[in-house]
């Protein structure tokens, strides 16, 4: 894949995923953004820690 097209692909993916849109790629799967709200957890030292919110890309492969 050309660098130019690869960079454009990454840019388009980034833009669309930031807008919380799902990208469907035939024969590959879907990419979508999943949001994790802030939450509390206990770290190994026993401290109660507030974790910041986070988005991550969830890829679901297409069933063949």
């Amino acid at each position: 894949m050309d660098d130019n097209i690869r960079e454009a692909l990454i840019a388009v993916f980034r833009e669309e995923l930031i807008k919380k849109k799902t990208i469907e790629v035939d024969d590959l799967g879907t990419f979508k953004t999943v949001h994790i709200k802030q939450y509390q957890k206990q770290d190994p030292s026993g401290d109660l820690v507030l974790m910041p919110p986070k988005d991550y890309i969830l890829f679901t492969p297409q069933n063949k």
Partner: protein, 467 residues
């Protein structure tokens, strides 16, 4: 909302400036490559992610940079310790208890026993709040006990001075349910003890000479002495009462003085708050008209930047806050804890930097003059002239302003200091905002390292954004 492959190809073709058929062909090749991944041989697409087989199923690990860019809203947020571990708390409480012991041992051994008991109790996180309340409840009780012990001490001292008569009262208070027989025995013992000049505490127990039983048994001469003693007693009691009445009055005066002091302090504090609020209000007005938008406005604009049309988005691409002070990070996280993902910490720091601009304007002359050209990346750098040939790059955003004129002035001031200054325009709700940034960088790490070289407060209050 979802995007089909057809739309995706169109957008990529438009972005890359090539025909859709070319993009479609290359995308199919990419899909083939990704789906043909074998176990232990992941397929990595630079800047995008890695396809690999996990448990016989195709999985995708996002590239670190892409992950950061997607999370640009939460840039700078770090985990905050909201409650320390139980062991730390136990240590802190034990310290407190030790200090409490030192103060309390002199006056009240009973409360010491209570504190020792409480110190031996194990503290669990769930019980901490209860313990706090219990401790609060114990304080007044202890105070009461202190007062009681003080009063008894005072009375004992007085009995030392006044002798037998006043001691009887002390005994009455201590042993109200004592029998007459006991009193008799005590009085006889007391009469012998007096002669031996024993300590005052023992004399307190010899008090009930004035009781009716003792009067019957004692001689006439003794009764005369008692009458004289009772007369003295009355006088001393009167003096005690008068003194006891005077004491609270003095205390009230002290309280009044304290109240007055509190009122004065409160009034001063309120005046200071009003002044600060007024100054902030004035600054905000100035910022809105001249230099910086308000925090709310900026936050709104940032949210709009993510929800506007794709063309706008391409301009307002994801930004990453590279480095920030711990204070700003904690503040960001706190704002996040209040409003989750609605507020945007990046912009908060941005306003901070904008507000700090006025105060640090003079320090800007101290900007480093060393060239920050990155090795192996011609055309990019922090200093020098702006390279118009770069279609996409990262820049360190230092200000966000509502006035284009002010933004240009700011950019010019950076240019004079040798920086490549960039103005990034975006719109929100019909309002235009102008972000002033410095430098052109190929990658986020390059921008991060360059941002560290910036003078304060810019080295901590900034964020990196794709232009």
């Amino acid at each position: 909302m979802s995007i089909s492959q057809k739309k995706l190809v169109e957008k990529i073709a438009k972005k890359a400036g090539v025909e859709a058929s070319v993009v479609d062909e290359q995308l199919k090749n990419l899909i083939k490559e990704a789906t043909s991944v074998e176990k232990g041989k992941p397929v990595k697409i630079e800047g995008f992610g890695t396809f690999r087989l996990k448990k016989g199923r195709l999985s995708f690990d996002t590239d670190e940079v892409l992950g950061i860019e997607i999370n640009y809203r939460y840039a700078g947020m770090t985990p905050i310790v909201i409650q320390e571990s139980a062991a730390d708390k136990e240590a802190a409480e034990s310290e407190k208890i030790e200090t409490g012991k030192v103060t309390s041992t002199d006056t009240k051994p009973a409360s010491d026993a209570e504190s020792e008991e409480s110190s031996t109790e194990k503290v669990t996180p769930a019980e901490e709040s209860k313990k706090d309340t219990q401790a609060e409840e114990q304080v007044p009780l202890d105070d009461q006990k202190k007062e009681e012990t003080k009063s008894t001490k005072k009375s004992s001292e007085e009995t030392d001075k006044s002798g037998e008569g006043s001691a009887s009262k002390v005994k009455e208070t201590e042993k109200p349910a004592s029998d007459g027989k006991k009193k008799k025995a005590e009085t006889t013992a007391a009469s012998t003890e007096k002669k031996k000049d024993e300590p005052a505490k023992k004399e307190e127990k010899t008090a009930p000479k004035t009781t009716p039983d003792s009067k019957e048994k004692t001689s006439v001469t003794n009764s005369e002495k008692k009458e004289a003693a009772s007369a003295d007693k009355k006088k001393k009691d009167d003096s005690e009462k008068s003194s006891s009445k005077q004491k609270p009055k003095g205390g009230k005066k002290e309280f009044k003085k304290n109240d007055n002091q509190g009122l004065i302090i409160g009034a001063v504090a309120i005046a200071a708050i009003i002044l600060i609020a007024f100054i902030i209000f004035l600054n905000r007005n100035n910022d809105n008209t001249a230099t910086t938008p308000s925090q709310v406005e900026i936050a709104q604009t940032e949210t709009s930047a993510t929800t506007t049309e794709p063309e706008d988005l391409s301009e307002s691409q994801p930004a990453e806050k590279v480095t920030s002070s711990e204070e700003s990070e904690s503040a960001d996280a706190e704002t996040a804890s209040k409003s989750d993902d609605q507020n945007e910490p990046v912009e908060v720091t941005e306003t901070k930097s904008a507000e700090a601009e006025a105060t640090t304007e003079s320090t800007n002359s101290d900007l480093p003059k060393a060239e920050m050209a990155e090795p192996g990346s011609p055309g990019y750098g922090l200093k020098g002239t702006l390279n118009p040939n770069l279609s996409s790059y990262y820049s360190i955003i230092l200000h966000s302003l509502t006035s284009e004129v002010m933004a240009e002035q700011q950019a010019q001031s950076f240019e004079k200091k040798g920086y490549r200054s960039v103005i990034d325009r975006y719109q929100k709700d019909g309002k235009s905002f102008f972000r002033v940034g410095v430098g052109q960088f190929e990658t986020i790490p390059n921008a991060q390292s360059a941002a560290k070289e910036l003078p304060a407060p810019y080295n901590k209050e900034h964020f990196v954004k794709r232009i």
